[in-house]
């Protein structure tokens, strides 16, 4: 039995109602919300045009849960634009927030699959789930930065990719503290089958954690001592109460001897991208 087996099957993912969500709902006529199964959780995905809706229906066919159509919330919204707006960006919204921006459908589907996988990730309880974005270079070592900066990173995604850096789309990462690896692949095997883009190979499923950046209010980056680092990173572990703080602290104590933990002050998106490039380069 795995941790996911303990989650009640067919849990419909709720949605936070907000003014921003209301604006998105009213911004255009949306098509039918498609119910999609991701692990034991059912989420809703909708599109802005009939063409996009048909593409989603086809692309997500293996994980569709039609029996839940009409019972799900619009957790994810997808806009591909029309033929007359061929050059416009294709977008994925999570609730009201733009979390994916692409110019190719294949890439957008990869992003959507990774986002859909976030639900089961949060339900895992045998490894730590961290609210952080993952960035890695050709050396295969991962840099984690606070999840609150995820949108800023996505805005500079092209710049980072041009510099040879890869950016994980998920804002939550699964970290194994004993092996110090970050699992980049999908938790849900059914979703993993959908995400068959060439960039995803079996080799990059598990990458070594090298540097963990934590939020800071100062104005410069500096390395933290192990005890302070432990306290800082503990705050980013989402399932610390599920795992138990004792287990979490003991796991982190071991990890702090092996990885670098640095503070990351508030930066503009440009400065953040430049910093990420420099930090990944310094990992060797």
């Amino acid at each position: 039995m795995t941790a996911l087996d303990l989650v009640q099957q067919d849990t419909v993912l709720p949605q936070m109602l907000s003014a921003c969500q209301g604006k998105l709902d009213e911004s255009r006529p949306w098509h039918t919300i498609l119910a999609v199964r991701t692990g034991p959780v059912i989420v809703g995905v909708r599109a802005d045009t009939a063409e996009t809706s048909a593409w989603l229906e086809s692309a997500l066919e293996p994980v569709r849960a039609r029996e839940f159509d009409g019972k799900v919330w619009p957790n994810f919204s997808v806009t591909l634009g029309s033929q007359s707006r061929r050059e416009s960006l294709m977008l994925v919204y999570h609730d009201h927030e733009i979390v994916g921006r692409r110019r190719e459908r294949r890439a957008l589907l990869g992003d959507l699959v990774e986002l859909l996988d976030e639900g089961p990730r949060l339900l895992q309880s045998d490894r730590v789930i961290v609210h952080a974005s993952a960035i890695w270079g050709s050396g295969g070592q991962v840099l984690l930065i606070p999840g609150t900066l995820h949108t800023n990173v996505l805005m500079r995604r092209s710049q980072l990719e041009d510099a040879g850096l890869h950016v994980g789309l998920s804002r939550t990462q699964v970290v194994d503290l004993s092996s110090l690896t970050v699992t980049m692949g999908c938790v849900d095997p059914a979703l993993a089958e959908l995400d068959s883009s060439p960039a995803k190979s079996s080799d990059d499923q598990s990458l070594r954690l090298h540097t963990w950046c934590v939020p800071a209010t100062g104005d410069q980056i500096f390395d933290l001592r192990a005890p302070e680092a432990m306290v800082a990173v503990a705050g980013m572990v989402l399932n610390r109460y599920v795992l138990g703080m004792g287990t979490t602290l003991r796991g982190l104590a071991g990890a702090m001897r092996e990885i670098r933990v640095a503070t990351l002050p508030p930066l503009s998106t440009g400065a953040l991208a430049a910093t990420m490039i420099e930090l990944v380069a310094s990992m060797g």
Partner: protein, 106 residues
């Protein structure tokens, strides 16, 4: 998260015969990292980082030794007058008690 106990605050000295004990897990979970203790109070859900001296005193709160015995051991170890050590230990324990990390058992 709070840092090490503040020993500058006013406090009531403990009886030398007092016995203090770390609260057991899961009430208080703790781990030592490079000579400093990171402790979690389940009740308040706060993480505390204790400095090296507070960490040492926290670990000496074994529920067996009296305060007098503990301060005598520390005075010998640090080669300091017992009254100086007693004042510092009292202050530290008062803060550890206030943080809910230890409790008086006798």
């Amino acid at each position: 998260m709070t840092s090490s106990p503040d020993t500058s605050q006013a406090f009531t000295p403990l009886d030398p015969a007092t016995v203090v004990q770390r609260k057991p897990a899961p009430l208080v979970e703790w781990v030592e990292v490079e000579g400093e203790v990171v402790a979690y109070n389940e009740e308040t859900q706060d993480l505390h980082l204790l400095d090296p001296i507070a960490s040492l005193i926290f670990q000496l709160c074994d529920g067996i030794a009296t305060l007098s015995e503990t301060t005598t051991d520390l005075a010998q170890a640090f080669d300091q007058p017992a009254e100086v050590i007693t004042r510092d230990v009292d202050a530290c324990l008062a803060n550890l008690l206030a943080l809910g990390l230890v409790e008086v058992v006798a």
